[in-house]
């Protein structure tokens, strides 16, 4: 071939250099709505939950016909994130989309997200003080962003808490009648399961939220004064707990990204799984027998001061036209009303965002049908959200890596926690610079 490959590389490097040097002027941009006839709402719900959401949207549209909300399935959270970040570059956005809070923080860097405090205070369409107080504190805390002076940038959508699912048949075979309330009891029961049945007690899914949930239940914090607390005593205890469970062969690791732990749980191969409360409907289908399994709050270190982690998606509104913003705000206000949040919770397994849901007769009937249905709701009063800072996704990956190192005996729990603290703080300071 009569050409020089070096010329290609020079060209590629030049193109890359131009790309890297290109100024992102999104912060001064105005965003066009993707369409003007409707307000597009990008979500990730499928099948039954998508149908329910469309029902709720239809109810809303019937009362607000001027600019209807159009729900659009846009893939999973990761795919929606890519779709939104790509659309931000093209300066064209939907009216609203579901997002994890750390994603919202990144969208906000491009000035793409509507600050909701002004809508909350809106004289005509705002929320009253009673409304605000009706939200569980964690539901709003998780949507307030310290990086943006505590501004409210999103509202809760698919929220759930970390709970302990236990297999009654396995516990019974091990001579146990009730699930553990504390981590000490959890270890004792796990050993008993191992000794009497030969089975593993737990299939552990390595996930940052699960680890943070355990850390909260140990009385610890993830962030304080802008620094992570992964080297705290409680964090070290969390990683040492994981280390102990694996060292003693009381737990095994669930293959990442799979739900094999639920399969093994349904097949009576293990006694416990630590998973989000929104998995309840799936486990209902799997067991179809309330005598076979149960739901319990996360074991605690201090029963007088319980904690668990709040997780799940929120909805953020985008900076497009005033008409689109108004339609989107009215919709999220409707979606988080007591009536709609109960309807959503009963049909999906996600949790109601308001305390007043407890007074709803349908909610009460649901809890009476099986008392364990109420466990997650009761956890909401003390649920703690994870940080919503930029770069949190990277820290999440580091947390999972630290746990994997402990599980694979590459590191002790203490060393992994201390190293994690350094890595996480480095990510935060890099983001700030």
């Amino acid at each position: 071939m009569r050409f020089s490959f070096s010329s290609i590389w020079i060209l590629c490097l030049f193109s890359f250099g131009v790309g890297c040097g290109a100024k992102d002027n999104s912060d001064t941009a105005t965003f066009r709505p993707i369409q003007t006839e409707n307000a597009e709402f990008w979500h990730r719900q499928t099948t039954v939950t998508a149908e329910l959401m469309e029902t709720i949207v239809a109810q809303f549209n019937a009362e607000n016909p001027s600019l209807p909300i159009e729900p659009i399935y846009a893939g999973n959270y990761g795919e929606i994130y890519r779709k939104v970040t790509t659309s931000i570059k093209a300066k064209t956005l939907p009216a609203l989309a579901v997002a994890y809070e750390n994603m919202t923080a990144e969208y906000a860097q491009s000035n793409a997200v509507v600050e909701l405090d002004s809508w909350v205070d809106h004289p005509e369409f705002g929320l009253s003080e009673d409304d605000i107080n009706d939200f569980f504190p964690a539901m709003l805390d998780t949507n307030r962003f310290t990086e943006y002076d505590g501004a409210l940038l999103s509202l809760p959508f698919t929220k759930s808490v970390l709970v302990l699912y236990y297999n009654k048949r396995v516990l019974k075979a091990a001579g146990l009648t009730t699930p553990p309330k504390t981590w000490e009891e959890f270890i004792t029961q796990s050993k008993q399961i191992k000794e009497r049945t030969g089975k593993f007690a737990l299939s552990f899914d390595v996930d940052c939220s699960t680890i943070d949930g355990i850390l909260f239940s140990m009385g610890g914090q993830v962030m304080k004064d802008g620094k992570t607390q992964y080297d705290s005593t409680e964090s070290i205890e969390t990683f040492e707990l994981i280390e102990y469970l694996f060292k003693e062969k009381l737990a095994y690791q669930n293959p990442p990204g799979t739900f094999n732990d639920e399969t093994d749980f349904g097949n009576d191969k293990i006694g416990f799984i630590l998973r989000t409360s929104s998995n309840r409907p799936y486990l209902e289908d799997l067991f179809n027998d309330h005598d076979a399994w149960g739901i319990a709050p996360l074991p605690q270190s201090d029963l007088d001061n319980p904690k668990t982690v709040l997780y799940g998606g929120s909805i953020c509104l985008f900076n497009t036209t005033p008409e689109q913003q108004e339609a989107a705000w009215k919709f999220v206000r409707y979606f988080t009303s007591t009536e709609a949040t109960v309807q959503w919770a009963l049909g999906t397994g996600y949790l109601p965002v308001r305390r007043s849901a407890a007074n709803d007769p349908k909610m009460q009937a649901f809890w009476e049908s099986w008392p364990d249905n109420r466990v997650a709701f009761d956890c909401l009063e003390y649920a703690v959200p994870e940080p919503n800072i930029s770069g949190w996704q990277q820290i999440r990956n580091r947390v999972a890596r630290a746990a994997t190192e402990v599980i694979s005996s590459m590191s002790t729990g203490q060393d992994a926690a201390i190293r994690l603290k350094k890595d996480a703080d480095a990510i935060i300071s890099k983001q700030r610079n």
């Binding site: 071939m1 993707i34 399935y73 890519r82 779709k83 970040t85 300066k91 739900f259 799936y282």
Partner: protein, 269 residues
Amino acid sequence: MKQRILHSALWVGAILMNYPFLWMMLTSLMPLEQATKNKHGIWPETWNWKNYLDAWNAAPFGQYFINTLAISITVTVSVVLTSLLAGYALAKIPFKGRGILFALILSTMMVPFEASIIPNFVIISKLGWYNTYAALIVPWCANAFSIFLVRQAFRSVPNDYFDAARIDGCGEFRFIFTLGVFLVRPMLITVALFAFLGSYNSLIWPLIVTSSESLRVIQVGLTVFSGETGVRVNLLMAASTIVILPTALLYLITQKFLMEGAGQAGIRG
């Protein structure tokens, strides 16, 4: 004896290669509980043919199929056409800067798909093509790999054919479409197959450039069975079985040419 060992090895290989397909088809007929719990072997306890109906009704798969086939066929025809013309020109028409042009075309293969999503989307958006068939088709109507393959195929054809045709007064276009197509036919079929499969299996790009249900493609349809808290394995496998039928059929029809084409270009699996 030697042949028996060879045949046995081939049988083992064939069974291993086909086992995932068998598993997919059998799982598609299981009740959810058996499919999820992964118990009682791979044979369904009850044959739930209704899974196929449930999977089909879980999303507008009919519309998705029509869209996917329309897009994939258009992309395939376009890729074959552009790579035929470009491949011929780069192989047989001498012109100034041909080597540099070919190098530039090849250099586009070094840009990963992920890196091209944002600029491509910005262009599509500025052209007003968001949520149109054009956005799904036009960016994929030509690609460097196909051009490279066809160019290599044309280079292996002796120049005597071209010289003889020219002496008889045959123009370039006439030569390409009357003789050239047949001379590089196995490679064109290979290129067509790759283009069709690439288009048929694409997920991220269609998801990014469309929001209307009426423009969605089959791979987007498959994602509806995976929720945040679990996967409806039996329905997903039923839908997957339906979805792979056209590609499996296409492969069976074109496998002879695919082998020839792979041989010509020195491709290994």
